[in-house]
Subunit: 311 residues, 2 copies
């Protein structure tokens, strides 16, 4: 309970002054901080000079998608120059890729809770060392929808676990720790307004299951292992739908929990590639999926431009 | 309990005939199987022709490492040709990378249990569709050691969870499912003998914690979030050491559990980058880590050559 109170207090402080605040007193005492999976270190990089102006961080699973996004947002913000390349800041490692243009940082996080957690620990320390303030972070991802037309976009209200509880559970030093997964309500409303401005695709606000698995964990019938029936699967997904769940992905709960704890306004905007009530395999043609993939990017680009007074 | 019995039976069958056996009756009835994260499909690829001769699958987190490994094993097996490139079989996706030479397949799996589980579901189906038999699969990875000189190699006897239990827990359709994480005993012994043959570096057999997190989940003091002390951390790591644990990584439990269930002989061979009793950050120079990284590859290469009667 003491730890929970400390976490709540940390959260409150961080939102008052809008600086990135680590929930770890040890880091300030470190002479050097090596962000191993970014291949960046405070002793060889000037973080305030490199990253001090960052106000928007966009993250997604695929490095290729995050590279496409930085090119797209550069054009949208009028910050592109003909023939300009955006070098991967995390050169020398293939764990994550990172790109920057103006106030926007674009970072890949791989698939699943452990992978994005590694990225977030190091990203949050990067923003802290860079003395960033008023940072919003948005996951632009892909997901399976529940009862939605494929291509619909879901803005997550609450990330829930596989039992539909709005919690992120973790084992720390062998003990169970449970943290809150609420998203920033105001940011959800702002993003929903951006979708209404655009009128380009269906967008809904709803709850999101954060699963630790793509196959059995999401009730798919097409994995290497499956000991249940179509009927069992339908019962699970229909119970999810009844609980206000609109999509399933694999990173939102730890993303919500860590960003909350460290004073980052956070949102999850995912397109749905299929309706899980109707199937498991992603069968749409490549060009259809490619257009779906751009939808969260278009929404978030509009949000960034609006925040900067550019629309 | 019925599910557990079905799993045990599946396992027994699969070891008798040494074919890959899916633990999912639904797949045989599918007209097409799209392995989405490999960007491969049974309707566009001839799996038996492409993969039917695979006998050894080596997997690791980093795509770059797995590309280096295929070049290395090609030379070791005398299957290389001057100037030959090994194309990525999973072209068109950046989720995973896959390379093949002769009977060896080399596949990346990203970081963490959910990421490797996606890869394994699709890999096991690939081997099944290709009608492979007598396949051994070895994870050649990196890890944090406990009470070992950095650079030591650990062959995992049992993958344990963060509470030191030899179990892999998963939520399937909202219910807790627990599976066994024992490794193939004979394969462990064969690999240990290969290390004795080589006499190049220290190798030990021990238990391995499979953590869902790199920072708090492994008791590190250098993440963005940390609500415990150095003393708490030491108590946890020392308890792990007393329980026969020699290293911590992030994929072994689901790897052991899934491979067992589907009739693959499986082993985990990880080098240790640091001694976690002495620190958290990976501070060794790049060239030292690069040499450490090769050690599991050298060990597994010797094993493959020995299995093929080439040494």
């Amino acid at each position: 309970m003491a730890a929970a109170r400390a976490e709540a207090k940390e959260h409150e402080n961080s939102h008052n002054n809008c600086l990135i605040r680590l929930a770890n007193p040890h880091v300030a005492a470190m002479k050097e901080d090596i962000l191993y999976h970014f291949n960046l270190s405070t002793s060889t990089c000037d973080f305030p000079a490199m990253f001090g102006d960052v106000k928007f961080v966009c993250v997604g699973g695929s490095p290729t998608r995050m590279k496409k996004f930085i090119r797209y947002i550069a054009v949208e913000l009028g910050l592109d120059h003909p023939g300009e390349e955006y070098p991967n800041i995390c050169v020398g490692t293939d764990r994550f890729a990172m790109y920057k243009v103006g106030p926007v940082l674009s970072v890949s996080h791989g698939m699943g809770v452990p992978s994005i957690a590694i990225m977030l620990h190091e990203l949050i320390k990067l923003l802290y060392h860079a003395k960033c303030s008023n940072v919003s972070i948005i996951r632009i991802g892909t997901s399976g929808g529940i009862g939605l037309e494929p291509g619909s976009v879901v803005i997550t209200q609450q990330a829930v676990d596989a039992c539909f509880k709005p919690e992120f559970e973790q084992i720390v030093l062998g003990k169970r720790v449970v943290r809150n997964t609420d998203m920033d309500e105001q940011l959800v409303q702002e993003l929903m307004q951006c979708s209404a401005d655009l009128k380009e695709f269906t967008t809904v606000v709803g709850n999101t299951i954060c699963s630790l698995d793509f196959y059995e964990g999401q009730g798919r019938l097409d994995g290497a292992i499956c000991f249940y029936t179509e009927k069992d699967k339908q019962a699970y997904l229909q119970a999810a739908q009844a609980a206000g769940i609109r999509n399933i992905e694999m990173e939102s709960s730890v993303f919500a929990s860590m960003c909350r704890t460290c004073g980052l306004r956070a949102a999850v905007v995912c397109v749905t590639y299929l309706d899980r009530l109707k199937g498991d395999q992603i069968t749409s043609p490549h060009e259809v999926l490619a257009e779906y993939e751009q939808r969260p990017q278009r929404l978030v680009s509009h949000f960034i431009k609006k925040s900067l007074g550019k629309v």
